[in-house]
Symmetry: C2
Subunit: 216 residues, 2 copies
């Protein structure tokens, strides 16, 4: 990807986090990116094309947190997260860090998602990104609980990722302290992993899956 | 509250849901409410006063869902939700209904919260509303699990309410079908209630509280 194209996408994420999708003006974006308006239209055709590429850019940047953290651990000699449960916790908690790029990325994501309430043009991309993320977390849960049934893993992953978005929104808007958000997230992972263990044990006892709503 | 004051607050929730807090213009609000701009300033002094009252209005309206549902059940002769667990489920699932006023209310709440990311003026009210909601859900969980320790009830309530906000945001933006959002929410209540039962049992066994992160 060209440097100037990347600069435009970085600036678009910044402006969307600050002003929302509805507040994104190509004039302000051009100033923020230090390029001409013409270059923006050259690279992205129209507003919809720009928003779609920004969504993908924001999404890819979030995926890179994990890789960066692993590299940073290696560089400082810190022990990498070992065991599937620690890796899962680390991956989810990376989104609850008080770092400017994490704040900006999560805020921009929230604004892009909110724009889809009235404007359907980004819904396909948003739904696909969500499905891929849920799939990744389900796979990580499957490494922690290898005998848990597939639908239970996906349901747990959907709850954990939706909870993370809910906690992140409360933290970003100053409603919930970051340490509380991280504690709630860590607890939720423990609760879901224990639930999957029980689910598996119940299932293996008589061969029939147990309703996840079953109460003791 | 005067009819015209209520009309202004209803219109403010509508405009904020549609355009965001940043997109709220007093001209458009006056047209939507069918009143003069002067009357808006007479009732709410300034923009901050208007936003604070709108937040309280949106919050009170959400609290009324439960009362309206109970009244509707009584009117149609439907059996009211019986037992603390059913009442808890019903209260939380009322926010995941495909009704125009629920959609509008949740969307307006999300926009008001998002506005607090860069503008701290509503943070105090948002945090208070959140604390009150968490307290109510913790009390309902306490009716289901009377022997669960207080901090565990509050932590479960904080997770359930944050999850509901996360699922609601996905549903409203067209990423997650409503039936899936409702299923995930119902499952989460079951998982948390089972967790609280285990927590209680572990605690009574040797008198020391068990870490909610404990893995089997």
């Amino acid at each position: 990807m060209s440097d100037r194209r990347t600069a435009i996408l970085e600036a678009a994420a910044t402006v969307i986090a600050r002003r929302g999708v509805r507040g994104l003006r190509v004039e302000e974006l051009a100033v923020e990116a230090g390029v001409s308006k013409a270059l923006i239209y050259y690279h992205f055709e129209d507003r919809t094309g720009l928003l779609r590429r920004t969504l993908a850019f924001v999404n890819n940047r979030a995926e890179r947190y994990t890789a960066e953290q692993s590299a940073a651990d290696a560089a400082t000699g810190a022990a990498p997260a070992s065991g599937p449960l620690r890796r899962l916790e680390q991956a989810l908690l990376l989104e609850l860090q008080d770092l400017p790029h994490v704040r900006e990325n999560s805020t921009a994501w929230g604004e892009l998602r909110a724009s889809a309430v009235f404007d359907p043009e980004l819904r396909g991309e948003l739904a696909l990104a969500s499905v891929i993320w849920v799939r990744e977390v389900a796979d990580q849960l499957g490494e922690v609980r290898p005998t848990a049934p597939e639908p239970a893993l996906v349901a747990s992953a959907e709850r954990l990722t939706a909870l993370l978005e809910g906690l992140s929104a409360r933290w970003l808007s100053g409603i919930l302290p970051l340490t509380d958000a991280r504690t709630r997230m860590r607890e939720a992972i423990g609760v879901e992993v224990a639930h999957l263990a029980r689910h598996t044990a119940d299932r293996s006892a008589d061969g029939t899956p147990t309703s996840p709503n079953k109460l003791d």
